[in-house]
């Protein structure tokens, strides 16, 4: 479903991604790990459609369609979800209005009728329950004054509302205490099915205790230098990244 080939991306002539290859199939959970500055967040925001980076080489296809040609909103409507490491606070835009616009734009794109207010509110109630998000958070402006944990829960709530095919979770565990981490991970697990896939980007193995990956990739200096099963995460937790850095020092 998601196929990334030899992807290169740069910002201000500084090359950050230097040939990424990644194939994600339905039902799979992939973890991308790596030290700071290896390009993890760049990879996810390039796939989500951020215009900050220039793609200089390579391709990315999503169900056969050229992802890199699409504006960010079309990527989302096609079924790609990007959970932000730092969700943006937007005072003045209510969560309800934001989500209703987003869900209905998805439906319009797919040739479906927009939800009525009551249909939408019902959907929202269901999903809120599913991801255990405090119900009054949705009465506020988007992420405004949310704690770190609330922001991340809100990302998972949005994921539940939009029902994507592939979700890229960028450092979803950063800044979470153990309870919030469990809630976020439970949400992700509940949304998992054989038709969708999850790409988890993380620094630490801890999150992977809750969201168990099928594949673990190590990203270093803009390339995936190692891929293996979930046991690789444990090895990294124990030994750190130094042995990889040594091995792949340019």
């Amino acid at each position: 479903m998601l196929e990334v080939k030899n992807l290169h991306a740069k910002i201000d002539d500084k090359e950050i991604l230097r040939g990424i290859n990644l194939t994600v199939k339905p039902g799979e959970v992939h973890a991308i790990m790596g030290p700071n500055g290896s390009g993890k967040s760049t990879l996810s925001s390039v796939l989500a459609g951020s215009e900050v980076f220039d793609v200089s080489e390579g391709s990315a296809t999503f169900y056969g369609k050229n992802l890199l040609d699409m504006p960010a909103e079309d990527r989302a409507r096609e079924g790609l979800f990007y959970s932000f490491q730092y969700p943006v606070e937007i005072p003045g835009v209510s969560m309800v209005n934001f989500m209703r616009t987003a869900v209905n734009e998805h439906r319009k794109y797919n040739g479906e009728k927009p939800y009525t207010a009551s249909e939408f509110l019902k959907l929202m109630r269901e999903k809120k329950k599913l991801v255990e998000i405090d119900s009054n958070l949705t009465n506020r402006s988007v992420n405004e004054g949310f704690s770190g944990g609330e922001k991340k829960k809100n990302e998972i709530f949005q994921m539940a509302m939009l029902q994507p095919k592939v979700s890229i979770l960028d450092e979803t565990d950063s800044g979470l205490d153990i309870d919030a981490l469990r809630i976020v991970a439970n949400g992700v697990n509940k949304l998992k099915s054989e038709n969708n896939a999850t790409v988890v980007i993380t620094h630490y193995q801890r999150l992977l205790d809750y969201i168990v990956p099928d594949f673990v990739h190590v990203l270093y200096k803009g390339r995936i230098v190692m891929s293996a099963g979930k046991e690789l995460a444990l090895e990294l937790e124990e030994k750190g990244y130094d042995w990889i850095k040594k091995q792949f020092e340019d």
Partner: protein, 464 residues
């Protein structure tokens, strides 16, 4: 053929207009109003129409507007048509007491509800100036600062009619009073409406002034409203401007408030040609509270200038000022806000903010917050910001499948939201929310309709 050195100054045109029509100007008005004219025209003659050398008009040169020729209606040609035939306002959500002014004149067929609280007077400025001379002697032309602004003096010189509202001691007018001023003429037209509001002790009233243009002529409106707000009373004035591009609107509001009173002014400029709003608030007693707000949304070549002067003359007063602007295309705007804290005004709390969102490289704002403090135990702040739409927020919204255009509307609305939420009358706030969203979507292009109820008159035209 023009003769060198004999060029007629633009002011001369208006001074001779005044001299030629002095008799006619006084047909309807009482002596109080008539007696103020001479002094006012003298000020106008001395100062002239403000040019860019006048500090408070630095960014708004009105000379080109005054150079054009306008007709006037000094004899009040009675509006013979039935207003309901050209202008419909079936207020549904908005339970209001609605009255109309036509070209600045009080519409004689206005019907007031029977349920008006006892003692409340709502009606024609001219008529009440004759029937209630004592109120006019006490309040008329006592708060307007003719000497500060020659255009205010010009209004005082030409003043004939407008609305008059009087709320006696202890009376609360629950429903908002909506005053719809309709401009309709056969050729370029100029009006000088003059309004007076007197709110006595422990009384409350909220008024909305809606400005509309109903014919495609060039208009110049120079309006002055004076308001006296006595002890413990509450007064709100919302000025909603939705006029076409050939309109020049100069609106000055002067408020004098007494102990423990609370005043709110809000200038909502949704569409205009050239707008200048003046707001003067004089806190003449301790424990006054005043809130001065504004929201301007402009595109194409519209120009909006908001000028405010908050006078903390006495101790223990609170003022809060917020003006927000969204400028698209080549729209320009100016903001100047002065907070004056007089020497004995200790324990003053005064806050001022002007935030602007520029959507293009050609849009322009000149903003000038000013604090002048002569007391030493005060808490004051002022600030101004100018920015563009936030790229990160744009990306966040788009990454959820929201189109670029829709994301833009959401973010513009989010920016304006803070100012809209300051409206204290819930029904008005609801209406304005919808209207502002329509403006951002480019859907509000009917300046001839009453924006608050969305009714369109039959000869629909766009704002050009």
């Amino acid at each position: 053929m023009s003769i060198a050195g004999a060029e007629i100054k633009v002011e001369e045109k208006y001074i001779s207009l005044f001299k030629e029509n002095q008799g006619r100007l006084n047909i309807m008005a009482s002596d109080v109003v008539a007696n103020a004219r001479e002094g006012a025209i003298k000020i106008f003659e001395d100062k002239g129409i403000p040019n860019r050398k006048v500090e408070s008009y630095k960014y708004t040169n009105l000379n080109p507007q005054f150079e054009k020729d306008y007709t006037c209606d000094f004899e009040h040609e009675v509006f013979n048509q039935n207003l309901t035939e050209v202008f419909n306002c079936n207020v549904e959500d908005l339970e209001a007491i609605t009255i109309y002014l036509i070209n600045g004149w009080y519409y004689r067929k206005n019907q007031l509800p029977d349920s008006l609280p006892e003692g409340v007077l709502i009606g024609s400025f001219a008529e009440f100036s004759k029937s209630h001379p004592e109120l006019f002697e006490t309040h008329y032309n006592k708060y307007a600062k003719n000497e500060e602004d020659s255009l205010v003096a010009m209004n005082t010189a030409f003043a004939q009619d407008g609305f008059f509202i009087y709320v006696p001691k202890g009376v609360v007018v629950e429903k908002p009073i909506q005053i719809v001023n309709i401009m309709k003429a056969e050729e370029s037209f100029m009006a000088f409406s003059r309004n007076l509001v007197v709110i006595e002790e422990n009384a409350q009233a909220k008024i909305m002034v809606c400005e509309h243009t109903l014919s495609e002529n060039r208009f110049l409106v120079n309006a002055v409203t004076e308001a006296f707000v006595d002890k413990n009373s509450v007064f709100d004035i919302y000025n909603i401007q939705n006029q076409h591009n050939l309109t020049t609107s100069i609106s000055s509001v002067f408020v004098k408030q007494k102990e423990h009173s609370s005043v709110l002014t809000h200038n909502l400029t949704l569409h205009t040609g050239v707008t200048r709003n003046n707001i003067y608030v004089h806190m003449d007693d301790e424990h006054c509270e005043s809130r001065i707000y504004g929201l301007y949304v402009s595109d194409k070549t519209q120009h909006v200038d908001n000028f405010s002067f908050v006078d903390h003359a006495m101790p223990n007063c609170y003022s809060e000022e917020l003006f927000k602007g969204v400028l698209d295309d080549s729209a320009t705007a100016a903001f100047a806000g002065k907070i004056m804290v007089r020497p004995n005004a200790q324990k003053t709390n005064a806050f001022q903010k002007n935030d602007n969102l520029l959507l293009t490289d050609n849009a322009k704002i000149n903003t000038k917050p000013m604090l002048e403090i002569y007391a030493d135990d005060v808490k004051c702040s002022h600030g101004a910001t100018v920015g563009q739409l936030d790229e990160k927020s744009m990306f966040y919204l788009r990454s959820r499948g929201i189109s670029k255009e829709e994301a833009r509307v959401l973010l513009m609305y989010a920016f304006a939201y803070e100012a809209v939420e300051k409206i204290r009358v819930e029904a008005v706030r609801e209406q304005i929310r919808g209207l502002v969203e329509q403006v951002f979507r480019g859907e509000l292009n009917k300046c001839n309709s009453c924006v608050l109820c969305g009714q369109v008159s039959d000869n629909e035209f766009t704002c050009m």
